[in-house]
Amino acid sequence: MTAQLDELKTIFTSALQRRSPSDREAYLNEACAGNPDLRAQVEALLKAHNMAGSFLEEPAVDPQ
């Protein structure tokens, strides 16, 4: 796992822990300062997290 991915994972996790939008915004401003690409990636993951619903939460079933 690259250092980039680890950083992405860490910031994503930390961002999730901040429940209020303003807290999260402030955290991301600080954590991704000077790195708009990283910010974009984290935002994309946060968006995916919100939209994922029950994705993968149940084991795969095989409808015969």
Binding site: M1, T2, L5, K9, F12, T13, L16, A44, L45, L46, K47, A48, H49, M51, A52, S54, F55, L56, E58, P59, A60, V61, D62, P63, Q64
Partner: protein, 190 residues
């Protein structure tokens, strides 16, 4: 049963060829069990990964196997085997649908009690291959949960990681895979 136990020990010893021996054995057993179950179940029944993997484990390894390292090797192989079975089935269904005379079904026509597959397993498989290259531990967690049917706690225990690490990896992997698939995780109606 003894054969699989021998292979599991070999894997634990670091024998690189042992894992390759395990997968076909587990694959064959899962296919056999799946066929048995389908022969006895009512038509339209879905195949439950958890029950199949558990039964394969009992038959191949035995219930007395306590060593978590061996459980881990087996369950990862079982996840990989289930994955292949599901992919093959999905591809076969895809060919049948494309070649046959099935009409395109509009969503409004589907009776409420019909279950659509929750995720496009082919899309998940492809996205998972990318994740494996980037983050093997997160990918293993997904495989154990999604293909072997383990709970997050069971998967964490199997992999020998903390609950906290498992939560972190799970949240990340889900979001990453969902994003990778492009949010279109449901298969098109056939």
């Amino acid at each position: 049963m003894h054969e699989v136990t021998r292979i599991l020990s070999a894997i634990e010893q670091g024998d690189p060829s042992a894992a390759e021996q395990l997968l076909p054995l587990v694959y064959d057993e899962l296919r056999r069990l799946a066929a048995e179950k389908m022969a006895h179940e009512a038509p339209g029944q879905t195949l439950q990964a958890t029950a199949l993997v558990h039964e394969a484990y009992i038959r191949l390894v035995g219930s007395s196997e306590q060593r978590w390292e061996n459980r881990r090797h087996f369950l990862l192989a079982a996840a990989e085997a289930m994955r292949r079975i599901l992919i093959e089935n999905a591809r076969r269904r895809g060919r049948i649908c494309h070649g046959g005379s099935l009409q395109r079904v509009e969503l409004a026509d589907i009776p409420l009690e019909t279950k659509l597959p929750r995720e496009d397993v082919l899309a998940v498989d492809e996205a998972l291959r990318h994740l494996e290259a980037l983050d093997q531990q997160a990918a293993e967690l997904v495989k154990l949960r999604y293909f072997s049917g383990l709970t997050l706690d069971e998967a964490a225990e199997t992999l020998g990681i903390s609950r906290r690490t498992a939560n972190r990896n799970w949240a990340f992997a889900r979001a990453w895979l969902y994003h990778q698939i492009g949010g279109k995780s449901r298969p098109p109606t056939e």
